[in-house]
């Protein structure tokens, strides 16, 4: 099982979250399908799934408290639990945490300079 959420970089970059709308449990997602969407004070944003699988659990707390995504993106602010179908293959296309962190850092630094 995979517990998925927004990265800290992404939540910080997009602002205070007003609403989070998530696909229901039982939804089959292909890579790139929408897990859900968020509406922040600044933007509306679609959240594509990085892996194929079925949603088995949705974080119901986000209905009342979407700010948990901002407060604890790696804790209580998780979005869904997914039962993956092609995990090994899908993971091969994704960045490891350290590589993602470096990429985020590079993007942030590039934006600060521009």
């Amino acid at each position: 099982m995979l517990r998925m959420g927004m990265s800290d970089f992404s939540q910080q970059r997009n602002g205070d979250i007003a609403f989070a709308t998530l696909a229901p449990a039982g939804t089959l997602l292909e890579v790139g399908d929408e897990i859900g969407s968020i509406e922040t004070v600044k933007v509306n944003m679609s959240l594509p799934s990085p892996v194929k699988g079925i949603i088995v659990e949705v974080n119901s707390q986000l209905q009342e408290s979407p700010e948990l995504i901002n407060q604890e993106p790696y804790g209580k602010g998780w979005l869904v639990v997914l039962k993956p179908e092609n995990l090994a293959q899908d993971l091969g296309r994704l960045l490891a945490a350290e590589a993602y962190c470096n990429l985020a850092k590079q993007q942030a630094e590039a934006e600060m300079k521009s």
Partner: protein, 159 residues
């Protein structure tokens, strides 16, 4: 993505303790110092402009936040007051700006708690994302007064 923007005003001395300002967004008006600082009544002063900049910016950011948080806003009115400190060496600064918004939103009774929570988050976001609030070194204090009207109620001002 552009990371900066610029805004401008042009001021011109009109004689005595009067000036004229042309804002980048169009309006023009005379200004002076306040009467307690050798100026004149009835015109814009830098002191009023400072408090107005904070008050207007926070209000506009709140209106935006209220839309984003899907609040049914009925009214917003805010008294703002800046406190000036005169130091021993006679330099002056605004140490504090207090905003007292009176905010009325409409809600179903069953959603009252959720709406109150969203409203507080909208207020917090308004301050957090207000350009002017972020740009001043004065302490900013919000003393909000909130009212929730039932959805079915007729609002007197709309009758």
């Amino acid at each position: 993505m552009p990371r900066t923007a610029t805004y401008n005003t042009t001021v011109r001395w009109k004689g005595e303790h009067y000036g004229h300002i042309r804002m980048g967004n169009g309006p023009e008006m005379d200004f002076s110092a306040p009467p307690d600082a050798q100026g004149h009544g009835g015109v814009l002063t830098p002191e009023d402009a400072f408090v107005a900049a904070v008050n207007t910016c926070v209000m506009l950011m709140f209106i935006w936040s209220a839309e984003r948080f899907k609040l049914d806003l009925v009214s917003y009115e805010c008294f703002g007051e800046g406190t000036k400190l005169i130091e021993l060496d006679r330099t002056e600064l605004f140490t504090q700006v207090v905003l007292r918004p009176r905010i009325v939103v409409r809600s179903d009774e069953t959603e009252r708690d959720a709406i109150l929570k969203r409203l507080q988050r909208a207020i917090d976001s308004a301050v957090k994302y207000s350009l002017v609030a972020n740009s001043i070194k004065s302490e900013l204090i919000l003393e909000s007064q909130i009212e929730i009207y039932p959805s079915a109620a007729k609002i007197a001002s709309q009758e």
